[in-house]
Symmetry: C2
Subunit: 341 residues, 2 copies
Amino acid sequence: MASSIHDLARHLNISIGTVSRALNGRADVNADTRQRVLDAAAKLNYSPNQSGRSLRRGSTHSIAFMLQPHPGDQQYGEPFFIPFLTGLQAKLAESGLDLIVVMGAPGDYQQERLRRVVETRRADAVVLAWTRREDERIDYLTRVGFPFATLGRSRSGGKSYPSLDLDFEKAGAEAVDRLVARGHRRIAAIRPSLNLNFGYLFLAGYRKALRRHGIEVDPGLIAEGFINEAGGYEVTPQVMRSKDPPTAIIFNNDAMALGGCKALAEMGIKPGHDIAVIVIVDTPLCRYFSPALTAFRPPLEPMGRRLAEMLLASIPAFAGTEGARIIREVWPLELIARDSD
Amino acid sequence: MASSIHDLARHLNISIGTVSRALNGRADVNADTRQRVLDAAAKLNYSPNQSGRSLRRGSTHSIAFMLQPHPGDQQYGEPFFIPFLTGLQAKLAESGLDLIVVMGAPGDYQQERLRRVVETRRADAVVLAWTRREDERIDYLTRVGFPFATLGRSRSGGKSYPSLDLDFEKAGAEAVDRLVARGHRRIAAIRPSLNLNFGYLFLAGYRKALRRHGIEVDPGLIAEGFINEAGGYEVTPQVMRSKDPPTAIIFNNDAMALGGCKALAEMGIKPGHDIAVIVIVDTPLCRYFSPALTAFRPPLEPMGRRLAEMLLASIPAFAGTEGARIIREVWPLELIARDSD
DNA sequence: TGTGTTGTCGTAAACGTTTACGGAAAAACG
DNA sequence: CGTTTTTCCGTAAACGTTTACGACAACACA
């Protein structure tokens, strides 16, 4: 059933060495024999055993993406990653690499799982998402010298690895600009823990833009909640109950926005009518919510493709002739104007 | 850096055979030496090279899930799979197995990718989703004798493999019952290709229930569309323009429902007011849509856990002492009543 | 004809494990 | 004390590849 290179060799009456060389396109094999080997391989539908190959080669020819279930979302997950992974996989496939997605258990923030992947050498490199401001995964990977790239930036690990991030800072500022241009001066920001780097960046852009417009930053209008629906639901009333309540809210996350809008509805406040709402990262929920939420949309599939390129370019073994180089990019987010602001 | 079993053996002045036996918990090794081996392994943080191990053992100790990007949804993917995968991974981890998710390219319906996984022996078994009524993946896997389990049923492959499905037939019937009880007699069904098995099952339930209520099945009220938003948008006006238009619509898919509701809105018809709408499989979109859509919700995470159990039970090498058995289950869907019907 | 070059292939070692087998020492038994 | 059993460990083969090395033939060149 499982035809090996020995079967091929026996079938053709040549040595396994020649078969291997023929299959791997090496120069020192007669054009005629190569063709015979290729034909036989197709006929016996032989394909090389991955374990044997990577044992000998010392590389697995596959890249791992660490997928972490979003904390606190039991019922459904984010639709965010699939197009990103589609792009990632498409680009990796062009280089003959496999993408494998490693699921983390909901609790442990991947450390356990990541160690396992690295130590058992299950992949040649990993891709991380949900980067934190200080990220122990990045510390670990740089410490042991394992190749990786990140979706999102971090302060950990210096500039030693490729990263692709979205410009949350600019998005935060743009959101403020847009609201100010429409006459708002009291603008609230609802965000997750600053430990999540995109939360930190967003807040920085928000602050900077406010100051640029000569508006004082009011700590009472900034609230931190758990990064899910419950977090938004819980924290939104706090800013609304400040003595001088906001006329606009920027949510840093779609789930928090939905929870927040629920809280607003219960207070009789209607987004797009009584208050302006902007969401930093768009998902289908923003589009179909009523009113449809104005949001910034990330180009997920191209990001996946690009990060794959960047990762490969950073690894000498994969970066063609040009040698390894570390690329770090920050992409803009596109504002999709809808009905909520 | 990469410490091997040889390093361990040299460090302890014993043979690699003994080290391996100690690590693998075999009986014929002195309790004292075993302890020393374990300590040394922890100290040098040794963990076995996966390639070497699976080459020798002939098994990879990992299960592959074939993830197919939903056809036609470029911008975002379904939030459906993450909780399912969480359950799957949790249960597999309890048996020391790894879950890897293999991304398919958007076009090829996985055949290419699946062959690759099987032929290179990258996993010991695979899990399939989006089963079709006649499923070439299932045919292929049974033909080559590769272990697998499916989320969803199929006519292919007989009863030779474990499967876990939702009772779409019952859900379709329940939806009809509910609508009839509320006075509807003209009930439309909007569904994807019957090739997708859940579409087939849904329609069967729909038909059966209508007949049970003595209502004639009107082909003009049944429409088939592409399984995405555009499909629903395109096809919904067709049923609405029939000479005796429906007073209720059952959508077989959340994306189709959203597209359909958009079309209804453009015709000035308001779900929950002018027409009743029920969706067969719930997602967050149904919850946050306005009006919130009544839908049937699947228990995704438990389904993942259960399918993992069923898969393991079907493979002699993993099923403890009890021997292999094929389990097939069909789970009920729970109706979540909201505002659209 | 002798020497060097080129093209093609076989041999064998190596990657890191696991495990069947056998052997030596220790323990049990008469 | 001699024999048998048990306990423990080392040896070596095997899993399926890739690849360094050398061998051999053919060919070119002087």
